[in-house]
């Protein structure tokens, strides 16, 4: 083996090779340089985003005091919370159904379930727009938060399949004898679910919920098509601000969104870590 590898280097120790390190470094640079620039320029003491003129946090204060931006932010959080709650329950139920039961056209159903993941978002957005405009009497001018219901329904539609997939893959590792053992020891179907099956699924459910939350919080395309004239979400509001000028205020607002998304993703990944699955 020493013919092919330098000393102390196993056949799969690619991370020690210089060219591979450079390649990985370049990839990370391409992915993260724009985001880092965005974050850095949110602290730029200038009305324009082009030249660095010194450090300031005033644009964070400005964004904080921008009422319509804050309203959009609260809208986004509200939509994300409601759609996460519903899509988590729905997605978990779908996962259980697919895991537990055999029924005719199961594979067709499974395929249809995953469709929202593969359908281009723009198609989904247009379809949702057409749908909500045809459904007569669907509330667009109700009081908050019911004016957000169209967006929320749309978000549930595209995020619950993600929950279903995450929970389903978690359940695939479940030992059915655990369920039988529980019943054998005298537990009812209901007790078995809550005391044995659910604790096993929980990391998957939490990971799925965080994924749904992030998807909803970030979503622009579907939201753009389903938001009414008076309802703005955070990404849509940022977009409309950019149309006038890209100010550090936009950067500041975006930075907050990036931070929230990253934090939630880290938590989600922790819940899905291999050790968690292995011990289950």
């Amino acid at each position: 083996m020493s013919v092919f590898n330098r000393a102390g280097q196993g056949p799969l120790d690619y991370h020690r090779r210089l060219w591979l390190r450079l390649y990985v470094g370049l990839t990370f640079l391409v992915i993260y340089a724009p985001i880092i620039t965005l974050v850095v320029f949110s602290f730029n003491d200038s009305r324009r985003n082009i030249v660095w003129r010194g450090f300031t946090t005033k644009y964070y204060w400005k964004a904080w005091n921008n009422d319509s931006l804050i309203e959009a932010f609260i809208n986004s959080l509200t939509i994300a919370t409601i759609s996460t709650a519903i899509s988590t329950i729905l997605g978990t139920m779908v996962a259980l159904l697919l895991w537990r039961f055999r029924f005719p056209f199961k594979s067709t159903y499974e395929g249809l379930m995953a469709l929202p993941i593969v359908v281009p978002e723009i198609c989904m957005g247009v379809a949702m727009l057409a749908f909500f405009s045809r459904v007569t009497g669907f509330p667009t001018n109700w009081i908050w938060p019911f004016n957000l219901s169209a967006i929320t329904v749309a978000h549930i539609a595209f995020s619950f399949p993600f929950v279903a997939i995450v929970v389903r893959s978690r359940l695939a590792g479940f030992n059915r004898e655990l369920e039988e053992a529980s019943k054998d020891l005298g537990a009812s179907e209901w007790q078995t679910f809550w005391k044995v099956i659910f604790p096993f699924m929980k990391p998957g459910v939490i990971a799925g919920a965080l994924l749904a939350f992030t998807l909803s919080l970030d979503d622009f395309v579907v939201t753009f098509f389903t938001s009414g004239p008076d309802t703005l979400t955070f990404p849509v509001k940022v977009y409309s601000m950019v149309r006038f000028s890209v100010t550090p205020e936009v950067n500041a607002a975006s930075t907050v969104l990036v931070v929230i998304t990253i934090l939630l993703t880290i938590v989600a990944m922790r819940f899905q870590s291999p050790e968690k699955i292995a011990t289950g």
């Binding site: 004898e177 053992a181 054998d184 020891l185």
Partner: protein
């Protein structure tokens, strides 16, 4: 004999076109250590699962303590099971695992504490009560599964291949412990196994199954020395089989014509079909380098072709003139036994006709 604790009556189970259990009937007595033995796919696990309630018979009745159980769900049956994978709940500590079966039926907390402590002590896990299952060895996890089932004080404990996942040394130790435990707690044990040693060493009675049928139910000794048919003889232990044709039968005597042994006269008062198999266990055969001077024995000449030394005994194959291989086991009762015989030696085999079995195919 008292009322049987379990009564299997004409139980059949089919999965589509496959018949897993075919019209099986037998009784199991209280406090018995009963084994269901057979090769994989013989229906033994299916039968056990029907007793536990995880699977419903296609036809027939299963009575536990005199009550028909076919419509009773598993959580309402007075039986508990130790699963092949042990199925210890991974998110609960040892103690919580054992307490689970009592908590779900609403046993008072004080009673749970004492019963769990007793059960853990019984299986020798009292020091590990706060451990999580991933911190336990396979043997310890099995003890958790045992304690968890026994704490429910079942009328019958079902064990599905309980020792198959353990290494050889631990398996031997657990065999002894299970027998001891069964005597201590006085609960009926039903064990499913494909391992004849396990069944022979632990069980009071063994049901040998093949393709959904029970071929024979007997104690270990009777099963080994008086197998009901060719399958049982071949499955339990090793055996040399000789096909033969009945040439004469009268008042307790049987004459069988075989290709290898010639005409054999036996004491036999059972039924004999036209075609039979004669069988002799390898350890019943004696071996000698000189022609033995024995009256009325079956004798056979041959040459040793294979030899395996096991310390306490040696296994060998002897090939006869007409190329039949006969397995022989000799006990190495003296230290020089290892040098006495070798591959290529011409030997004489002989055994008493009383050690021969007549098997209907």
């Amino acid at each position: 004999m008292s009322e049987p604790i379990i009564s299997i009556r004409n139980v059949t189970k089919t999965f589509g076109p496959v018949t897993a259990v075919n019209d099986v009937s037998f009784d199991i007595q209280a406090n018995e250590f009963f084994a269901l033995l057979g090769p994989s796919g013989c229906g033994k696990t299916t039968l056990l699962r029907m007793i536990a309630g995880f699977s419903k018979p296609s036809a027939g009745q299963i009575l536990i303590d005199g009550q028909d159980m076919v419509e009773v769900p598993p959580n309402k049956r007075p039986v508990n099971m130790v699963f092949q994978s042990y199925a210890v709940f991974p998110h609960m500590s040892v103690e919580q695992n054992v307490a689970y079966g009592l908590q779900v039926v609403g046993t008072p907390a004080a009673e749970i504490t004492t019963r769990v402590a007793n059960a853990l002590e019984r299986v020798g896990l009292d020091d590990l009560r706060t451990r999580m299952p991933d911190q336990l060895s396979g043997g310890q996890r099995q003890r958790v599964a045992l304690a968890r089932a026994l704490v429910k004080q079942p009328k019958v404990l079902l064990l599905d291949e309980p020792l198959s996942a353990l290494d050889a040394k631990l398996r031997e130790q657990m065999q002894l412990e299970l027998s001891q435990l069964q005597q201590d707690v006085g609960v009926t044990f039903i064990i499913v196994t494909h391992d004849q040693d396990e069944a022979l060493s632990m069980a009071d009675r063994i049901a040998v199954m093949q393709e959904g049928n029970v071929d024979q139910i007997a104690g270990p000794g009777a099963l080994y020395e008086n197998p009901a048919n060719r399958f049982v003889a071949d499955f339990i232990g090793k055996v040399n089989l000789f096909d033969g044709r009945v040439s004469g039968a009268q008042a307790g005597k049987l004459s069988v014509e075989t290709a290898v042994l010639g005409k054999v006269h036996l004491n036999y008062d059972g039924e004999a079909q036209h075609q039979v198999s004669l069988a002799v266990r390898p350890e019943k055969i004696r071996i000698s380098k000189t022609k033995p001077d024995v009256e009325g024995h079956i004798t056979l000449g041959g040459r040793i072709t294979d030899w395996a030394y096991y310390g306490d005994c040696s296994h060998m194959f002897v090939e006869t003139q007409n190329a039949t291989r006969i397995g022989v086991v000799i006990q190495n009762t003296t230290r020089d036994a290892v040098d006495a015989l070798d591959i290529g030696d011409d030997v004489h085999l002989f055994w008493s006709p009383d050690d021969m079995l007549v098997l209907n195919n």
